[in-house]
């Protein structure tokens, strides 16, 4: 189909995203410098440490370039740390943690707890047919608030450490942005990536 998807390759599991894209026949390009953004049809912000990525986004000169591409309507899919980079508000982050602040959600970093509270769950995702998606959550962010512009595509029920059991959004869409708090790139299920690609194709 001739699309090229950029994958932010500063830190994290960017290779898994490239592999998933290749499995659905989509070409990808690792993005480490501003020139790598030229000609891409969409961008994936992978999982990793959001504080590290924020710092490397600044020093590489990518931050202002991606921010302006986002304003111009670039399609972006953020997973875990990538969701944090897209979120309008970040709770429990570092005060100097820079993000693109474009998606109208409020996320709490490591909101499910430390690594021992990381988990897998079956999810039903709106717009995805067939069996549930097996979602892998690793020190994942919790979506605490969403604006009315946000489309919640999937939710998970979780017993938090304060003994409250809550249902929280885990896949969110807004215009050309898609974000999930788990790691679809860690499983062999390609359907969320396909959803992102069909979103791009539908407007091309």
């Amino acid at each position: 189909m001739g699309l090229i998807i950029g994958v932010l390759a500063l830190q994290g599991d960017f290779q898994e995203h490239a592999l998933t894209l290749s499995q659905i026949g989509v070409a990808s390009r690792e993005v480490r410098n501003p020139k790598d953004l030229i000609g891409i049809d969409g961008l994936i912000l992978p999982g990793g440490e959001s504080t590290t990525m924020s710092m490397l986004l600044e020093s590489s000169g990518l931050f202002p370039e991606i921010a302006s591409a986002l304003k111009d309507g670039l399609f972006v899919f953020g997973t875990c740390a990538g969701m944090i980079l897209l979120a309008r508000e970040v709770l429990d982050g570092r005060s100097d943690q820079g993000g693109f602040a474009l998606m109208d959600i409020s996320v709490r970093r490591n909101g499910f707890g430390r690594q021992i509270r990381s988990f897998e769950a079956d999810l039903l995702v709106k717009g995805i047919e067939g069996p549930p998606i097996r979602a892998v959550f690793i020190r994942a962010p919790v979506v605490e608030k969403v604006a009315k512009e946000i489309e919640i595509l999937a939710e998970v029920s979780y017993s938090f450490d304060d003994d409250s059991k809550r249902v929280v959004p885990v896949v969110c869409g807004q215009d050309r942005l898609l974000a999930c708090s788990f790691h679809p790139e860690l499983t062999s299920d390609t359907r969320l990536h396909q959803l992102f690609i069909s979103k791009i194709l539908s407007e091309k």
Binding site: G12, D92, P132, I138
Partner: protein, 296 residues
């Protein structure tokens, strides 16, 4: 969805955190102040311990798990993952570290081994483990015991990268041999490596180690990080190399940049300038205790 379907401590969840640390730098820190400097510099995780390997070497004596209070103080200071070390075979220490909810346990040769025959049964823990290895056989034995990340051992606390290079090259060249081997040869290879056939076969099929391969032991400069990344490491551990140097904050930052841009000599040049005094270091053949020889 029903919360009943939520599953904790699976291999995928435990290995997943190692995947997230790829392309990053894990830094040894001995107090909250250092942990803050490490996080500020862009570390993807910190290793909380009482003494860095260079000091363990200097002081001698038995090196044990750190005081939980020290680890807690570091956990309270940073938002990135916190790792801690347990002695080889010391599942008692590992149980305490799991109760403390550290994010990763390093069953480490840097501490004095507690068991001369057996490593920890790492499958029985919900916290993931990283273990050191000097060759592929050792790496696969650790993976068969449940390790979710392997780090080439190098020689910790020396500031000398030569052993890290030796171990990394050994592991990657043995992987290449397995990839090229005839399927019938895999049984003999497994026997020679003293490793499970299933893991050897998995490498033949997937062309990589079943868990991420990181590098540790003797890294001290941005160039060291770029070197081992080009040799096939997926992330780096820096122990004494940062906080035993003249300007830890600046050096830490430079090593983070070098680990990301390891293929870009222009950036490596830029970040290598004016880093101040590196750690002095010791030559591998002048070392009294070879920590890399601990573990079996």
């Amino acid at each position: 969805m029903d919360a009943q379907s939520n599953e904790f401590g699976t291999a995928r969840v435990k290995r997943g955190l190692a995947e997230m640390l790829r392309g990053g730098v894990i830094m040894d820190v001995v107090n909250a102040g250092q942990a803050k400097i490490a996080e500020d510099a862009g570390a993807v995780a910190v290793m909380a311990l009482e003494r860095v390997p260079a000091d363990i070497r200097r002081d001698g004596g038995v090196a044990r798990m750190s005081d939980p209070a020290l680890i807690e103080e570091i956990q309270a200071t940073v938002t990135i993952p916190v790792m801690a070390k347990a002695r080889i075979g010391h599942f008692g220490e590992a149980q305490i570290l799991q109760a403390l909810q550290v994010d990763y346990i390093d069953e480490s040769e840097v501490l004095t081994p507690a068991d001369e025959a057996f490593h920890i049964d790492k499958w029985s823990f919900d916290i993931p483990f990283v273990c050191g290895a000097t060759n592929l056989g050792e790496a696969l034995r650790r993976i068969s015991e449940g390790a979710c990340m392997i780090r080439s051992k190098g020689e910790a606390g020396t500031g000398n990268v030569v052993e890290a290079v030796r171990h990394l090259r050994s592991i990657t060249s043995e992987i290449k041999k397995i990839i090229l081997a005839d399927p019938a040869e895999l049984f003999g290879i497994a026997k020679n490596l003293q490793a499970p056939y299933e893991l050897v076969s998995e490498i033949h099929r997937t062309h990589h180690l079943p868990v991420p391969l990181f590098c540790a032991g003797g890294l001290a400069t941005p160039a060291d990080a770029a070197l081992v990344m080009q040799l096939g490491a997926e992330a780096v551990f820096v122990g004494s190399g940062i906080f035993k140097s003249g300007d830890p904050a600046k050096r830490a930052r430079a090593i983070v940049e070098a680990t990301t841009h390891y293929m870009d000599p222009t950036i490596l040049l830029k970040v290598s300038r004016n880093l101040g005094e590196p750690m002095v270091g010791i030559n591998a053949d002048e070392v009294d205790v070879k920590m890399a020889e601990r573990g079996w």
